[in-house]
Symmetry: C2
Subunit: 224 residues, 2 copies
């Protein structure tokens, strides 16, 4: 099976670059999130509502990973600093792409970097970027069976957002079944049901971010 | 850039295996579809409603590609022959996986093989499986910008289903904007808006399948 050593080498190199990215972030005191989700789960909508709510009190930057350039223009309209990573058709970001994009920012000017990964519930889970938290966004519209079908993504999450809860009244989505699937893979995962459309549930998510940024600052920019 | 020849070799091998799969299908007179979509767009629901509507008049088989084993049990309940391809975490089917799964069927007993690819709007577009038609399933719940953001998938489609049209009244989905994005990439693409939940729009899709199976038979099992 000759392909296994090649894959192993790629992962080793990625992990080294992720460590380098983390080092740059921590040196500058920037907390960073890796936002991952299926196409259409609402990564950009969640990011934009989050930015609008926090940009007056936190210094925000965004890195938009995509195979086309639709979302970056939307994010730029929020007025925060944003850089695009066009993956050239690749199904995920990797640490090398993030490393090459970071010089686009003067990192010391920011508190929080939001990295929007490529819309994909499989590939991004395998590549550390050097960010501090993996934020997975599921949506009511995708169905309640996603944790059972895409276990690696939910297993690797540090925080789970369930978006589009305003659609619960129209969809056959059993929240208990969804939660059970998540609990088996990732017990005690921090979970925020919310709607980027109506704002329902957003306050708890925003509070969580504020607490993390404060804790990160208090720890001198280095999370254990 | 040493990785480029490796990727090229993989694609060449895949294309050769896809040609071999096509040959086996045509020798047995089995028309085959490759169903591709995002997680949660409704591949399995569309497949199951299609099977229920056609199984009394066509001899159907299904190949379920997945990284976990949830859907194959659902499909088995329809009573048709079904084989699972567990991709071991891989984000797409390839022709080798299909080739290894085909011996699970006595192909001469079937008219139509429905291959359900892994839930992913990027990777599956790059791998020919040897099937006759690429059926892409988008859904109203994913948003109307998907053709603009995942162009390769829509460019490679032979038929496009827009699922969950029963949700049009609740979602901000502009059908004209969606159609325009598709038309730019793939002018004249065969398009069926439908709902696997309510059955709305299904008759046109089912009629299209019946016509293709008849044409395939009339042509002696070989599509030009």
């Amino acid at each position: 099976m000759p392909e296994i050593p090649i894959v192993k080498n790629i992962m080793d190199v990625n992990d080294q670059l992720a460590a380098s990215v983390r080092n740059q972030l921590d040196s500058a005191g920037v907390l960073a999130f890796n936002l991952m989700a299926s196409p259409g789960a609402g990564k950009t909508s969640v990011l934009m509502r989050t930015v609008d709510a926090l940009k007056s009190t936190l210094r925000l930057a965004a890195l938009d990973g995509d195979i086309a350039t639709v979302d970056v223009e939307k994010i730029a309209r929020t007025g925060i600093a944003v850089e695009l990573i066009n993956t050239g058709g690749n199904c995920h970001l990797d640490a090398n792409m993030v490393s090459r994009a970071l010089p686009g920012f003067n990192l010391t000017e920011f508190d929080l970097l939001l990295v929007e990964n490529v819309g994909n519930l499989i590939c991004p889970a395998a590549f550390e970027l050097g960010t501090h938290y993996n934020i997975v966004i599921a949506s009511v519209a995708e169905g309640d069976d996603k944790p059972y079908k895409y276990p690696a993504m939910f297993r690797g999450a540090d925080v789970l957002l369930l978006n589009k809860i305003d659609m619960l009244r129209y969809e056959d989505f059993n929240v208990d079944y969804f939660r059970h699937g998540v609990d088996v893979l990732n017990p005690g995962l921090t979970f925020f049901p919310l709607s980027a459309k109506t704002g329902e549930g957003f306050d708890a998510w925003l509070d969580w971010i504020r607490v993390q940024v404060a804790a990160y600052r208090a720890g001198g920019g280095d999370l254990a």
